[in-house]
């Protein structure tokens, strides 16, 4: 009787969503793996099975390796900057400042703008406006080609991404700070611990779960910033700011190498899974 009810409940409550999820997420995921062993071009009917050739080619493809490098470096730089800034801002806003609600709202605001628009607005600002500011001010900082220099473009991208989402990290850290248990903090005050020393020795260790969440979110944010890249730099100059997700999109829908792009997507999946498993393990140990 009880078991029968459980099956019935599974069918009527879980299955509708599960059905949509399976056909629109799990099946495509499986197909990506299947495509990755073919040389399909997305248009022709036949797909030839070519084994691991796509994967072998990926290791020889300098553009792919470069996009991988860009993804990793930008993830690390962004992760460090977003977490430090987010945490500092949260510490500031956790004090009893009268305008803190308004400040929080303003700093968070760019996060809700769509990436495409943010991308071309900043292309205008960094690409066009800066070249006009240079003769006016004579400051070298305006004449460095923030979007046209292969070395600097990474920092420009991270800067725009930070402009957009540092408020996001701030808000998460703020929630973490407000959930801190009060007893250890009060005990520390009684033991004569100053406000500043409290941050590294007491607040940070207690915030570890929040920090892990934010580190992981920083990685997903950088993996998902390709709509921003599309209009900010479009991967340029050359392929200098092409992130792995953007490269997969270009290979699949611009160059029509569906098979090859699928292989790259599988590689990306494996990498993300490893990072996620690593993160889950650490969180569990906590």
């Amino acid at each position: 009787m009880k078991r029968k009810k459980e099956i019935l409940d599974y069918v009527r409550f879980v299955c509708p969503m599960l059905f949509l999820y399976v056909i629109f997420f799990l099946v495509p995921l499986g197909q990506t793996v299947a495509y990755s062993f073919t040389n399909w071009n997305g248009i022709s009917k036949q797909k030839e099975f070519i084994g691991f050739a796509n994967y072998v080619n990926a290791w020889k493809d300098s553009v792919f390796l470069n996009s991988m490098k860009f993804t990793i470096v930008s993830a690390i730089v962004f992760m460090a900057a977003a977490n430090v800034l987010g945490f500092l801002l949260a510490l500031c806003l956790n004090r009893k400042i009268r305008s803190r609600i308004l400040l929080r709202a303003i700093i968070f605001c760019p996060f809700i703008f769509n990436n495409v628009t943010v991308g071309f607005i900043w292309q205008f600002l960094l690409g066009r406006l800066m070249t006009d500011l240079y003769p006016l001010t004579g400051w070298g900082i305006f004449n460095m080609g923030w979007l046209s220099n292969e070395k600097l473009v990474l920092y420009s991208v991270v800067f725009v991404k930070l402009w957009q989402s540092m408020g996001y990290f701030m808000v998460i850290y703020l929630a973490g700070l407000q959930m801190l248990p009060q007893d250890p903090l009060e005990a520390a005050v009684i033991d004569g611990c100053g406000q500043l020393r409290m941050i590294p020795y007491i607040k940070l260790p207690l915030m570890r779960p929040t920090i892990f969440v934010c580190l992981f979110l920083a990685v997903t944010e950088t993996l998902n910033m390709y709509p921003l890249l599309m209009t900010l730099t479009n991967g340029g100059p050359g392929h200098a700011s092409e992130n792995i997700s953007l490269y997969i999109y270009t290979e699949a829908f611009k160059s029509h190498n569906m098979g090859y792009a699928s292989a790259l997507a599988v590689i990306l999946t494996v990498v993300v899974m490893i990072v996620a498993a690593f993160q889950m393990k650490i969180t569990k140990e906590e």
Binding site: D9, I97, N114
Partner: protein
């Protein structure tokens, strides 16, 4: 704890300067969006000779803004409704199960949370064109709900676990069960989490570029981000004045929503991040 008022004042001052720094560039964008093209290219720093809204009128016309706006609302609201209704049902089903099947299903649902969209985008485009989903906003919304449901399912199942099972049993004895029980008794209890999720999903769908980009090719079904990308590709070299005006127009609707609901939005997004 006592706080030093002077330090607080200093911190507030620094933060206000930061805010000013963050939004000063937007003033340039606003000013340039009302200039003529020549002025934008030749003197981007100066004020316009004539303040006119011609650019905005032209964007309204060429990008078919009203239609695009309607499409975006339709897409975001419909996808959101499907996710919230089916997602809450699935969350309820999972929360009330004791067997292994329930746990495995939950893990399966979690898989989509961390994978970026390019991982499934290629077959999705293919399947969608075979099933007649491309260029049909209703069907695209169903597909969209299906592949982005993870967060709703997990968050609902977590908060339904906090509702005592005795409630189910009492209602069952009173002859109320199944969908009627769920929607008349459980669902109203989930109001706070439903609000949070509604905000989260609405903003996410409103700003989503990739799914529409892969599945929509006809202009009459464009959503705002897609129309922005199209505008960008069309005008990037020669019509910065129009591009900036269209950017401002894309941001304004969500900004208006934000002004009225900033608290709910911020707290919803923070809660969503921590719980995932």
């Amino acid at each position: 704890m006592r706080e030093n008022k002077r330090i607080n004042f200093l911190i507030a001052l620094i933060l206000w300067i930061l805010c000013a720094g963050m939004f000063a560039p937007m003033i340039f964008v606003l000013i340039n969006s009302v200039k003529t093209f020549g002025e934008v290219v030749m003197e981007p720093l100066s004020l316009p000779a004539v303040w006119s809204l011609d650019n905005y009128a032209e964007v309204l016309d060429t990008s078919n803004y009203i239609k695009v706006f309607e499409n975006t609302i339709y897409f975001a609201v419909l996808s959101g409704l499907i996710v919230l209704i089916f997602g809450s049902m699935a969350g309820y089903g999972l929360a009330r199960m004791n067997s292994r099947v329930g746990k495995v299903t939950q893990l399966v649902f979690m898989m989509a949370m961390m994978l970026p969209f390019p991982v499934i985008m290629i077959p999705m485009a293919n399947v969608a064109s075979k099933m007649g989903i491309t260029n049909n906003l209703t069907r695209i919304s169903v597909l969209n709900a299906g592949f982005s449901c993870s967060l709703a399912v997990i968050m609902y199942s977590q908060s339904i676990r906090g509702i005592p099972r005795e409630l189910d049993e009492c209602a069952f004895l009173d002859g109320c069960s199944g969908y009627r029980f769920f929607f008349s008794i459980i669902f109203p209890l989930l109001k706070p989490i439903t609000g949070t999720l509604a905000v989260l999903y609405f903003i996410r769908y409103w700003n989503d570029l990739m799914l529409p980009l892969v599945l929509i090719s006809k202009k009459e079904y464009y959503t705002i981000p897609l129309s922005q990308l199209n505008f960008y590709n069309q005008f990037t070299q020669n019509r910065w004045n129009l591009l900036l005006a269209s950017g401002v127009m894309a941001i304004i609707p969500v900004l208006i929503l934000y002004v009225f609901a900033q608290r709910t939005i911020i707290e919803g997004i923070a809660a969503g991040a921590v719980k995932s």
